[in-house]
Symmetry: D2
Subunit: 431 residues, 4 copies
């Protein structure tokens, strides 16, 4: 089932639950792979596959056992599952990531949150475990609007705005929407209100025409004075709070996506090397050099991601120290790994194209899909390359800055600045 | 009209004729740019644009003035034209390259060939000048067959086989087809027979579904015992002849394509930097670093290609020395430049995506097309990276090998070897 | 004491014994750092430091506790020690590596060898534990000669030849010398005879004038009919045996050296970032970008080396399966890591120079030493880049070849081929 | 004589005078090469070689013929000379560059300066032509002091301070010293006073102990109230003037140094490929790939530098337009080329080390010297990588900043900022 690899390289799950997730996924890999090209071409979300995931408990894989889930709690195990899945179809993996990362962050809220937060989390988690709930995150505002939560005057709230790049939306039952709270005379705050799909005023738009990840069910969602109860409003910190403790949740939300881009590169490599190995005659010099370079890169990104995820797993369980420090210590290695994966995974697929020759330069060739899909990694939250350089160099040089990309983005928009918008693909569920 | 650039970097034509070609192209750039995205999406060849090229004499740009053409004879001037065109639409440039490079190689045959060769060349060139003839090269065999020329028993020949990746085919009036001559008991020879599109047994197939360059009119062509006169059979050297003099013609055929990939990268850079420069606030560190790296890369590929093309232009006119040496001295700098362009032009477009952010990762965004188109460069004849390493390292180390990729490919096929098939896109007209 | 780093990145020892080794080293780091520049300039071996290592049990760190040593048995723990030491002085670390890796390989022989092999190993290990023995490996032949073991006609052997690049030699009490056995009419075999420094005919030459690692006590050793008892002759496999089981010992011998090159890069980075962070004014864009790139590279090599060493540690204890397969599975990740470390560690030091400016381009500047020392990594056994590409690409493509670099080198010499001689610095003790 | 290379790649002089310079240099190359290693080891300036240069007119090579010089006026021809010389010994080339670039900038002053400036220039140029004058530039302040020119109260000036990294100083007869003018109550101005070596208060210090370029005669020079006449004070623009016209002179001063670093890389490549080509047996895959990469890099830097120098030569003669624009148009391509040369020349030498193997890692090996020398390129004025990124990205993005590195450095010092000090090696003569 698992893509083979040496120990410590995201090749074998570290928990029994991780192994069970892999088994559940394994049953469907052949079918997933079989429909990947067609779904990619047509931009069609593989809803049938997700029906089967639901039936198999995969949609509740990261829900605690106590609440009926499979109880996969280690980021590295989730990443191995996504890696394996992405090697069959990255779009499917990206969409499943939305649900699995949400399970992880809600589990944290259920265990450590305030009572009201815990109640919301438990309700959702139980529904995710049964497959009743598929919960999308809606992070990035459409360029036209700032999604805003305002008081309805009766103790509850109204949400208006438009979100873009919301993955897994075709089957979503709930949306957690990142919004700004504009209270008169106060500093804007961040909020993450929960809405049901059938909320009044909520419209799921047509599918996005992406360059890659075209079967990930990525769309825009419009909110027009959607009512939100105060319990579901989930108000967070003020914009500009510079609270690095949020980096922990953002790491948990997004770090397992590293597995997806590694899985794409591994699939490209395996198909290519198999084809090249079958050629007769002496292998040309550049073939041997390129294959070596590819294998070094793959071992590197698997090891680095494995190490960063193990680090996050260790720290995720440790609430004993300074929470800001914990956040930075989770995010920093994740970002090291992300920069490397974002650089080397596309390079590997590119080298596969070189090794394959002109036959790979066809819309129907496997590498054509992988080449487009793998490029998505650079746009995943929390940081793309540009924001990643700002974050990591500030850490190294001891510079003060707001590291919460949700807050920074909100501040940018408020001050009417145009921005690079690098980390703007909602593949995951920002906590 | 011209994409601006410092001197010596393919920015200003060196001859008056090159300037006239640019002017003729300039009239159509806006329309070409305007339809590029749609043609790319639908895989439609811009036949209307080529009607206008025909009317303007562009289809005869490289035909000598004596034969009615514009008389553009310098490779660097042709490359500047293609660069400018590719910045508007690379597919259009790739298709036009087929005609322009054919004009250059036929001009050489007309000036220096044997009488029968001269006659064929003159006939074609005169028709190209008036726009009556659009001449495709058909270089790469379909995987299923070796395209073969055999005697018809009556002093003439019959051609059978199938060619793939033939660009500009939708409007082709003639095909020059690279074939093997199988004469009983003799070493196979290469030939480049000329066929009219309406030749009995010739079928132009449906359009290819490419990863990029989708509007270049690239298709398969099938030959089923097509009759070829002895004069049009154009028999060449034996397979395995190791005659490096052919490298001259192969350089002339393909080197101007460098302009296409530079033009793509330049277009990506210019659009991206304009957008980035319009952002308010302090430019992030990585933005400034990436823009610098991009501009260094662009200056590098423009200078290197300019230098390699000027070298080829100088040698093209010099028939005084050893013709094998001349071939190598033309091909070697071209290959240095090709490796660099094939590496850095895609890197520039990739960096543009990073600078643009998630908005660029959409099928409808300009960068999405450029990212796919620019990747074609690595597959262009005569050598991709793998064969390029073999050629260039053999030159440096003084190793003996057959440098004629047509011959090598024929030998590979004959010996039933599977091959990397790296340089297999018929963007140009192998002489 | 330890160079700080996130978990899983060679930052904290995994065993208590590893921690003790670190503590013992820590006492001397300041003095080691204090004399590093002077020793480097003059090419002087820090014999006094090794006296203190001897007194502290460091020279027996990898000797089993049962034989009086510290009992450090995990490669990763040894690498952490060497990393920490190399950050103070890489030459000292390289010399100590000779002794520590010998301890590891002799421990294996003591546990798993044939009786006679075990006896030799035990005798040496006990002497290493007390500091009585310092055991050099002499791997690489001087270009002028093949070091050869021949029968003396009385049941014992005579060794003649010359070895080069033997590190730690100034204080060596014993040499294990890689030699060929030339028995009449038989395929040459490999041997690793043990000689005492005072053996008749053995001469330790003047110190080598290296580009870097100048205080590592690296010299030539000449053997002129030195007598070797049959027990100490340690005859091994035939040249060309293609026995991949030897890759296990070669991994154990050399993999911990990765720590040395990481330590150099880390020291360069830490000194540079501290200096840069102290500058006033806004940090220039390229400074922030370069620092990010450096930190990504450092995290990468620390993680990748940590993963490869953990893999080797796991397999080192597992003798249950196919021993050739075990050898390959130890060597392959080691080589992935080695290629990456050999590439990125020098890059980091180079970027430090760029960040420091012209002040670093002075013979007396710390970076000048680190820049030279770090370049040694590419020459360390078993494979440099060229042989590494051959090995790793053969593994990927399923090509048959002899992976034992000792055997390959012997065969090259026998067949009178000149060779790239890439992996020819005896930093460690080839098993 | 000339290092062979394809046309357009700094391989053949474009003027007769350039050819004569090459011939004059050619007579001495063998001797220069013969003493290079020893001079490097001992840090000894090859004064005898410069005696011969003086006798041959080489010291006046860039002095106009009208004033008795050889009249080499094209930057590309000077660069070819330096390239050829650097392939024998880079230190010698760096020192000669000081004199040759001074000839170029003084020639400009002689032709286009104000009467007093012309008179000073003519006097110096005539002495350079006869070999009577060797004129150093002293650009970079020692960290301890700001070199300052102040009024002596009698209409003349006094210079005090300390300059570092002044090349060719052992034989200097004159120094042009970059200083600040501190006039009470006025914005500080820049000045470039001319001093004779025997000026009261001027002391040439001991030789610098460099990492490389150790025979370039690079030292500190101390000024203690040295008198300067008003005519020789050469007062320039105010600090912070943002006058881009100065970029022209700075380009002329420094751009020919590109030849030096290309010459080093070419020498390393030629020696290495010759050795590798002599090896028997099949060349390993990585050897062929590395050699190809090296040759692509060399062709790239030769072409790019050739193009940038030709651009500067064209603009140098054109005083018709906006002088600020002219300055930027000269500097920008130079900086593109400089970044590429600074990156690829060291990479080529590094790849040569990989190809050579451990034998190259010895203080006495040619590559050891080349590896150190080639790294100096990154520190040469006017911009290192960090300032280069600032300059080039500001050009691309239309950002306003002071591009005069002399002015920026002065302003930094004045505001007591610590700085990266990147472009601080006085290899050339900043105008």
């Amino acid at each position: 089932v698992v893509i083979a690899g040496p120990p410590g390289t995201l090749s074998a799950p570290v928990t029994e639950e991780g192994g069970i997730l892999l088994e559940r996924l394994a049953k469907h890999l052949q079918d997933i792979r079989g429909q990947a090209d067609e779904n990619d071409r047509d931009g069609v979300f593989p809803a049938g596959i997700f029906d089967r995931f639901r039936a198999d408990g995969v949609m509740g894989a990261t829900v605690p056992k106590e609440l009926g889930g499979l109880g996969v709690a280690r980021l590295s195990d989730v990443a191995i599952g996504l890696l394996t899945l992405a090697a069959a179809d990255a779009s499917t993996a990206l969409a499943l990531h939305v649900q699995l990362s949400r399970g992880l962050t809600l589990s944290y809220e259920w265990r450590h949150g305030a009572p009201r937060e815990r109640a919301v989390a438990e309700r959702l988690l139980r529904m995710m475990a049964t497959g009743e709930a598929a919960v999308c995150g809606a992070v990035k505002d459409h360029r036209s609007v700032i999604t805003t939560l305002k008081r309805d005057g009766a103790g509850n709230w109204l949400l208006s705005g438009r979100k873009t790049l919301v993955s897994m939306a075709p089957i979503a039952t709930h949306f957690i929407v990142h919004a700004q709270v504009q209270d008169e005379g106060r500093q804007p705050r961040l909020a993450a209100p929960l809405l049901r799909r059938d909320a009044p005023g909520l419209t799921v738009m047509e599918s996005w025409d992406g360059f890659g990840m075209r079967a990930s069910g990525t769309v825009d969602v419009v909110f027009d004075d959607c009512p939100v109860t105060d319990a579901d409003a989930r108000i967070r910190a003020a914009v500009g709070a510079r609270d690095d403790s949020v980096l922990a949740g953002q790491t948990v939300s997004s770090a397992t996506m590293l597995g997806i881009y590694i899985g794409i590169a591994q699939a490209a490599r395996d198909a290519t090397v198999a084809a090249v190995a079958g050629r007769t005659g002496t292998q040309p010099a550049a073939v041997r050099t390129l294959i070596t370079e590819m294998d070094v890169s793959l071992y590197a990104i698997r090891s680095v991601a494995g190490t960063a995820l193990a680090n996050a797993d260790d720290l995720a369980e440790d609430l004993s120290g300074d929470m800001g420090e914990r956040g930075r210590r989770m995010m920093q290695p994740f970002q090291y790994a992300k920069l490397l994966v974002n650089r080397l995974a596309p390079t590997v697929v590119d080298q596969c194209l070189t090794l394959t020759g002109g036959a790979g330069y066809s819309a129907g060739h496997l590498l054509s899909r992988l080449y487009r899909d793998v490029r998505a990694g650079g746009f995943m939250q929390p940081y793309g390359y540009i924001d990643g350089v700002d974050f990591l160099s500030a850490q190294a040089l001891g510079l003060e800055q707001d590291n919460d990309y949700m807050s920074v983005r909100a501040a940018r928009v408020t001050s009417n600045q145009s921005a690079a918008d690098l980390s703007d693909h909602n593949g995951g569920a920002a906590r």
